[in-house]
Symmetry: D3
Subunit: 329 residues, 6 copies
Amino acid sequence: MPLAIPSEMTHGQEADLFVLMTAKEELTTRDGKPYYKVGFRDHAREVTFPIWHDSPWGADCREAWQPGSFYKLRAIYRDTTYGPQLELRKIREVCSADSADGFSPAMCLPQTRFDAKVLFDELLAMAREQIFDKALCALVVDLLETNREALLTLPAATHNHHAFVGGWVEHVHSVTRTSVYLADKYDDYYPDMKPRLNKGLVVAGAILHDIGKLREIEERPQGAEYTAAGNLIGHILQGRDIVREAAIGRQLDPEMLLRLEHIIVAHQRLPEWGSPKPPMTPEALLVHYADDIDAKYHMMATILRDDTNTGPVTSKKNVLYQKIYRGEQ
Amino acid sequence: MPLAIPSEMTHGQEADLFVLMTAKEELTTRDGKPYYKVGFRDHAREVTFPIWHDSPWGADCREAWQPGSFYKLRAIYRDTTYGPQLELRKIREVCSADSADGFSPAMCLPQTRFDAKVLFDELLAMAREQIFDKALCALVVDLLETNREALLTLPAATHNHHAFVGGWVEHVHSVTRTSVYLADKYDDYYPDMKPRLNKGLVVAGAILHDIGKLREIEERPQGAEYTAAGNLIGHILQGRDIVREAAIGRQLDPEMLLRLEHIIVAHQRLPEWGSPKPPMTPEALLVHYADDIDAKYHMMATILRDDTNTGPVTSKKNVLYQKIYRGEQ
Amino acid sequence: MPLAIPSEMTHGQEADLFVLMTAKEELTTRDGKPYYKVGFRDHAREVTFPIWHDSPWGADCREAWQPGSFYKLRAIYRDTTYGPQLELRKIREVCSADSADGFSPAMCLPQTRFDAKVLFDELLAMAREQIFDKALCALVVDLLETNREALLTLPAATHNHHAFVGGWVEHVHSVTRTSVYLADKYDDYYPDMKPRLNKGLVVAGAILHDIGKLREIEERPQGAEYTAAGNLIGHILQGRDIVREAAIGRQLDPEMLLRLEHIIVAHQRLPEWGSPKPPMTPEALLVHYADDIDAKYHMMATILRDDTNTGPVTSKKNVLYQKIYRGEQ
Amino acid sequence: MPLAIPSEMTHGQEADLFVLMTAKEELTTRDGKPYYKVGFRDHAREVTFPIWHDSPWGADCREAWQPGSFYKLRAIYRDTTYGPQLELRKIREVCSADSADGFSPAMCLPQTRFDAKVLFDELLAMAREQIFDKALCALVVDLLETNREALLTLPAATHNHHAFVGGWVEHVHSVTRTSVYLADKYDDYYPDMKPRLNKGLVVAGAILHDIGKLREIEERPQGAEYTAAGNLIGHILQGRDIVREAAIGRQLDPEMLLRLEHIIVAHQRLPEWGSPKPPMTPEALLVHYADDIDAKYHMMATILRDDTNTGPVTSKKNVLYQKIYRGEQ
Amino acid sequence: MPLAIPSEMTHGQEADLFVLMTAKEELTTRDGKPYYKVGFRDHAREVTFPIWHDSPWGADCREAWQPGSFYKLRAIYRDTTYGPQLELRKIREVCSADSADGFSPAMCLPQTRFDAKVLFDELLAMAREQIFDKALCALVVDLLETNREALLTLPAATHNHHAFVGGWVEHVHSVTRTSVYLADKYDDYYPDMKPRLNKGLVVAGAILHDIGKLREIEERPQGAEYTAAGNLIGHILQGRDIVREAAIGRQLDPEMLLRLEHIIVAHQRLPEWGSPKPPMTPEALLVHYADDIDAKYHMMATILRDDTNTGPVTSKKNVLYQKIYRGEQ
Amino acid sequence: MPLAIPSEMTHGQEADLFVLMTAKEELTTRDGKPYYKVGFRDHAREVTFPIWHDSPWGADCREAWQPGSFYKLRAIYRDTTYGPQLELRKIREVCSADSADGFSPAMCLPQTRFDAKVLFDELLAMAREQIFDKALCALVVDLLETNREALLTLPAATHNHHAFVGGWVEHVHSVTRTSVYLADKYDDYYPDMKPRLNKGLVVAGAILHDIGKLREIEERPQGAEYTAAGNLIGHILQGRDIVREAAIGRQLDPEMLLRLEHIIVAHQRLPEWGSPKPPMTPEALLVHYADDIDAKYHMMATILRDDTNTGPVTSKKNVLYQKIYRGEQ
């Protein structure tokens, strides 16, 4: 049986599939018939359907299947009036031998549309080229390199925006690019500002503004979750910790370090948005805006992509809590 | 007697000066001695000092001098413990012949550090090159050209930010440049967004977002003031009027016009910031951010320039209602 | 078979009916039985019931029936434990010949309890008699007469208050009456106010405060919806547009026009309620209150009518987000 | 020497005056010259001027004169560049014999422009005619009659609105009139509301909504002040007390009493405006609006009367914290 | 058949039970099968299950069973995949003879873990020993004794916190203890405060701060509900009424009474939390805090007990609207 | 000449004094007479008076005297109508020999009424006795001992509350005592809470909740000021840093450390009050309340002490922005 990519299957097609189990919920119809609502996904599509208790898969589903585990299925795909469905023929957990057939967990998770490694390398290049202070540059580069593996897959959030594999690097790369643009521009406009805008600091702040996500978020197959410290302390304080720990033993100017910490602390601008201090330096102001634009634009683009309302405006039920205008099309 | 520029005079220097009278307030000391507190300014410095009722200038000051009028003075400049002072020798109102000596009203008003004409021409060029829809391009270009004289001197606000001669063109030029950057970037990131980002619309919206200032603000020698309609209606609605009036008789796509109006209506984002509708299109979102960054950065730079606090932080009493960190210097 | 009015039918009665189809939603029971949930209404009652896929009407329902279309039914009405139900015998779309039997679309929509034409004529009379400035009076009268047909059926909102056929004229008529009362009263109390209260302006503002609904709301059989411009611009700005367009070419005093525009702009009082400017004139203040009372009283009366809670207070789940006290009855 | 009314004197006029002393503040000029700033007023004008320590009146002023006392002065009135001034010739405290010359304390206090007794009698008449429930009518009438003397002079507030002698009766009379209008109107609009609007209750609530001012405010010559209970409890709760105490021993329907109390409790609508509960009955809603309009209109009229800004808009520094538009005049 | 306590029954056990009926709701499955969802509870567990219309109990359920009534059941208890269920064998309403078998209504309601009588007596003792002013002490003691029966069972709220039988006395006892501690402590810290802290007043205020619940809440078998006056007036104002009524005819110092009333009025601190006045005396401040801590701690403990989330944090859906951290266990 | 304590001097007394210079501001009277407004203080009183430029001390004042320096004066104290004044006879800066006469800087600064060393030792004792976890106890004890000198004099704030020498230890000692009380009490009430309340953690959190003040505030003779990091980062984050740094190399349970950090992070409860996270554990909740009561009670007591309003209520112009009721006295 040929291997297929679930999100590319068509009505009636039978194939072998690698999927992640995302849900198993025990429910009952109102008149008492029990079933499991199960979900399986690849990187782009999630399929949900019932396994009746008295069906051939009922006992197996109850006892063995685990959300968060990966499975190899043989199934027939159907587009039905109840949405896409899979009619199971075989199911077993993925084993190490499956990598030979091309299986990797990442193929079952939503992820950045970009090549995370390319973005990461460009981020490193920006750090190396645009942060002129040597000690500061080294701090940023070392932090990136030390955490390379984790940062390549880290999402930028558990929901809201860039909540997918590689979301951190996609978002941070974009924020840093905008920050470079704004720093060049405004330094040019206000060359006499005292103290003068420190472009290297803007770049360092942009790259590290969300570094605390490393400790706030735990990646799990079912989706990212907050760590205990993420819940009790939050990524802003944890990001500052990472920077302070990395600064120990370096020849970093203390005033520079303080300003860098402030960029992280202030990047969400208002207390009710999570920042204990508002941007009090021009560098912090620029990073805040570069970050905010990128997050909000991503949200708007995602709403336009996913909203299912017909008509010229989307529903209000989205992460921005407002209608978006799509227009007559 | 040589002509001097007031803001460049030094202690003890005597010279002839062209100035604008900015204040004449009748006061009395606590023990009953009456005087006028008068103010005179050139483009960069304002000097305030008393004219005692019983001094040689007392009667003239009371009867003839008018704030808002321009004067030619002969005076000695002194730096005193009470701030800069002018000791008057002669004073008369400016007459038409003074232009021969280089007098122009603009030399007595605070103004943009840039060449307003150059900025204006660059703005026109951006309109011509980056707004691809012909009707939309023509609308924007015509509006700029029709109002060229007024827009070259219009301030961007009566206070808050860019509140000086040429402030409008300085601010709008900057907002438009950032908008071009953001539009190019985000169209590149989300090429499949439906509908796709309309860059020309972003540019048109950026150029026209504050066009209502033409009707909201009245330039007067003593400083800009709100018009009656500025008070009762406001520049957001008036800016939309200007665009709608200019659109009459053109072949502008109605959906395009609606989206352009929306950018103007939504550019301050929240109701309490003045926008009856939040940005509901990606184009409006980008213009909002480009505008907000430029205003806030200008405020911060101005606070850093003007704050007189000693120590590493400024006072809280400024247009941002917060301390700005200047650092140890 | 005799024609019946659906909202007046009784248990077991069989009759022919004219109805509007309001809903057709494809659903499935938890154990997989598919059906359509359909809805039909006349002016006062909506009936919702299932059409099973495998019933005689299943195919017809799926392929032909359209929400928003009008139908002639033959059906038996039943009060059941699942609410009112219709057992269909026949169904066909309404045709032009049905008007001979008394069909009109309006008979299937919720509407004002008053005679809209009477209200409209009284509104016109108030305009003619109480707006003393000739140009202003002509502007208002012309606007009413030009839009007579639309205004006779326009709802005052898509939901919230007066959201039914003729809601606009019912609401505006009431607001204008209260405004006349308040203007007379307060002019009498403060005869020396400078400038004196302009009663004609109050009346004009009251009549036109919601005129923008003409462009904000689109009437459709299934209920009113926002137009694209309604979403992106809103009725306050659009109402001002209508007035400004109508003023072109008239001899209307510009100060008078400005004050009229301000009444429209400010009639919702606070930015978060939709007004970019607060009432800054006595005229605008009075119209705001007359409008607000009428809307809130209508909401309260409607909640008291529709709430199904037993006991002395209603639920909090209503347009006022609070409990209303009904008392022991 | 003839008696004059201070607010009608003209420059250079010498006369005898009855006045209230409103201020005596010990100050010193910056160079150390001590003086008292004293104030005297009649019902319409307040004059403030210095009494130098070393002047003939210095010792007397220090030892004897008391703000809050009434004085008979002989003085010359002068309009000066420092505002209106009195040049004292004689001063003595008012004595009982002065009533023979027409002195009464009320002539020195700001007061209602209306005849308080007429308003009061009309209020009584409204109570008698429009409150149909006998027990309720008797309660209201008795409360008015019992407190007649105090209510004839009570201000409606210590500042904000109607803060003058007779302010309570002026304001309550107006609120009651509007309430009658609204009750008649809306009962007519919603005759089927359940329970039906109780007009008598609206009238009773309107008359008594501010009855708590009797205990909240203490009238003093220098102006009204809050009582201890006014500060700690407030007029809303105290007004309800007055009603509850008056209801003891009457045959008032408990549900009626409860609804009346609720009108008082809810008449300021929002917690942050002072009401612990929002209007939860139609009667409370109407009284709230009738009250709010009257207060806000009074504020706006007073601002238009007193604001000293030149130009078309008033200052923002007033009880409404916003500009009012006066227009070009 | 032996009597069992429902919340202690185990799978398969058959027994006789005394229960309170808490719910009877008529529902239908999506495919049209009608049933009643019924609920029965004892003091610690509620069981909900369907009675099908066509089952042997269908008719009886429809016609006779009443939520709020007590029943004696014979039933088999089962833990099923649909939660706990009862299979009915017999059912009849409780009769007076059942008390002989140990039935009391309280055994079917959630209640305080403490002995309410002991708490009540301790509260009385605190009043007698710590309120030094005799008249004040007598007022408090009399109020407690007069309402002893009601206060022994009154809940502290209908939901939010201490919403169970005896909740009032549990909460008030705890608040009073903390208030005694704080009063002793802060009087010791600020012995020179003028006026000095009145500890007796703190204790009286603590005991009476929620006395208004007597009139705000009505205990019913199905759970506490707001009275009409509770809805329209609220417990803060009603509690002050109780105190004022009780003070009539006593020799209580009026200033003392006023300060006591203020403690009640201000104990929720902010208008939006229900207090028309903020704490303006040290006594009111202490009672506010003692009350607030006790309520919030109870909420947090209850959330930790009841939340069913797995993992280290609870859900946000609770009375505090936030996550609580439970930790890894 | 005998040494006197400035705040105990009486009218006409001449003596030698040790004082701190607190202010030197160059001013001019309105008619142009220049002077310095100088201020001197001891621990309880500040005296402000003019030094005229042309007086014998004029030149010395201008050139030599420095706010923040300590001086020995010989002066005559006078109570005048312009407040307390000093007539200088001699002035010189304090020298090392003055300690022999009893001079110490602390005698010139406002300070705690308590013996800071006693409070500190009691705090240490509470730490040793009530924190049962050895590693946690050691961490707290070491932090106290290491910073003993600084903590003995640190104020708790630059203004708001406990803004004087020793304010930190006075406040923290009090907060810890209340926390011990609350922890004992609520652990007793909810012994089954899971996880059980950790009293030692409450005590540790109470002692360390404001430890960040060590880095936020800089003590200077003229009064405490924010450090650069205090402005940009704030004491909450800095306090957590101190704890984390101290935990390095200890055997502290990571979960315990995390919960301790959370207490510090959450102790101000709301974002707008400075806490990025709300209290999410029972321990954090108790410390928040113990802290908040102590701060607010101190504010209220201080307002009652310092307010100069006559009458039963204080002014609103204080750190609580509300009136405090003092009562008739």
